[in-house]
């Protein structure tokens, strides 16, 4: 069985692409069949490899039900991600992992959970949201605040619609720009925090992923609303290449993001966030 503990610097094994789902004009979710039983924790990532093209870190965005396929959601931003986004069912991709630290879902039990996602930051948060909803009675309020560039860039819209239909989950979506046909919110994610409705800052755990600038502003708003710095968790992105804490490319201050992250508490990151030399 492949587990977080077992994954290290090992050869990539080919996984078959079972399904491809286009989430938006530049984002695709691959549903992959692992060659052997595979487990992961919400927030972890895999290294996806295409022979002759290259390898990139991609967040695990969940598993499909009921067939248990492993989902990776990819934004087409470079040569490797473009090649991954053009895979079709039946083709294969090399996978190493899972790697990295996970969202502390269990530690958040007993209090409120606020999830702040921006853009392609929603995929690594989806497994955490699903995990919390799977044991809904163990949490107080659960709030999802999600921002994207435009309405066309929103991901997982079917699941968002289902979540919005629940009475035990608050979902607020906003976009940076829209035409007058859009009936939702226009504005930035940090602005949603002050309007996010019922959560008790003193008992709240926050998970956030998005562009680093967005996360910095979101953290300021969260701290301003009274959330404790040690209960705010961010998922960091740096140039990960080996994912095994060997190459040093993903160093961020004293951390190697592939080993110590990507999920880290704001309390540990605070000194380094916003420092342009890091």
């Amino acid at each position: 069985m492949r587990t977080a503990e077992a994954a290290s610097w090992i050869a990539t094994a080919p996984w078959r692409v079972e399904r491809v789902r286009r989430e938006s004009h530049d984002v695709v979710t691959l549903a992959l069949v692992p060659p052997e039983p595979f487990t992961f924790e919400p927030g972890q990532f895999s290294m996806l490899y295409l022979a002759g093209v290259g390898e990139v870190p991609i967040s695990i965005s969940g598993t499909s039900e009921p067939d248990g396929l492993v989902l990776h959601t990819i934004r087409d931003v470079g040569a490797v991600t473009h090649a991954l986004c053009t895979l079709i069912p039946g083709q294969h991709v090399g996978v190493r992992g899972p790697y990295g630290t996970a969202w502390p879902v269990a530690a958040a039990r007993g209090g409120d959970l606020v999830v702040v996602a921006g853009g392609i930051g929603l995929p690594p948060l989806r497994p955490a949201i699903r995990a919390a909803l799977a044991e809904r009675d163990k949490f107080g309020h659960i709030v999802l605040l999600y921002g994207a560039r435009t309405p066309a860039d929103l991901l997982f819209t079917d699941e968002l619609t289902a979540w919005r239909g629940r009475f035990d989950l608050t979902v607020e979506v906003t976009v940076d720009a829209a035409d007058s046909q859009w009936r939702g919110n226009v504005g930035v994610v940090p602005d949603l925090i002050a309007r996010a409705g019922p959560f008790d800052p003193g008992l709240t755990t926050v998970f956030t992923v998005g562009p680093e600038i967005m996360m910095r502003f979101a953290v300021r708003a969260l701290l301003g609303s009274g959330v404790a710095p040690e209960r705010i968790y961010l998922s960091m992105e740096r140039n990960m290449q080996c994912a095994a804490a060997l190459c040093g490319h993903c160093q961020f201050g004293p951390f190697l993001i592939c080993r110590d992250g990507p999920v880290l508490s704001y309390q540990r990151l605070a000194r380094w966030l916003g420092m342009r030399e890091v």
């Binding site: 470079g78 853009g119 392609i120 940076d176 007058s180 939702g184 226009v186 998005g210 562009p211």
Partner: protein, 153 residues
């Protein structure tokens, strides 16, 4: 009917002294706007601002060949309108109602007169509107940065 309880309950006036709420109440009225209507139009005289209690409105601007673009949406707890404070007193955007809006409209001319008579009230209001303006400016900067337009995550 006094609107003081509603004024006191609005986020924008949280913690404001009762005597100032009483003064503002003298300039305030209850307003309701139906979906699809405009609360205000760009270029019109701006002698009122709104404390939104319920519903949502879109601040829009339009240009030839582009149609209306939503620059921000406002909802319960938000304030619509800085223009009553600025000397030109003209609305800068269209305010189109997306969901029926209930709001307290505050007469800007009336309130400016009260601020002239009581500079402490004027300072308190200016402090709150300046904070609001800074928040909007920061949000606008983030939107202009187009943070989602670049690779990450």
């Amino acid at each position: 009917m006094t609107l003081e309880p509603l004024l006191r309950g609005h986020r924008f006036f949280a913690g404001l002294a009762p005597e100032y709420l009483a003064l503002i109440n003298g300039c305030a009225r209850n307003t309701v706007f139906d979906e699809g209507t405009f609360m205000f139009r760009e270029g019109e005289q701006a002698d009122e601002f709104y404390l939104i209690r319920d519903g949502r409105l879109a601040l829009e601007i339009h240009g030839p060949g582009r149609g209306p673009v939503v620059v921000q949406t406002l909802r319960a707890g938000d304030v619509a309108g800085f223009s009553w404070l600025i000397d030109t007193h003209r609305w800068q955007f269209d305010g189109r109602v997306i969901e029926p809006v209930r709001a307290i409209g505050v007469d800007g001319r009336c309130l400016r007169d009260k601020c002239e008579q009581d500079p402490k009230l004027g300072f308190e209001l200016m402090r709150r509107f300046a904070g609001l303006a800074v928040d909007r400016l920061q949000a606008t900067r983030l939107q202009l940065l187009d943070v989602y337009g670049h690779a990450h995550g």
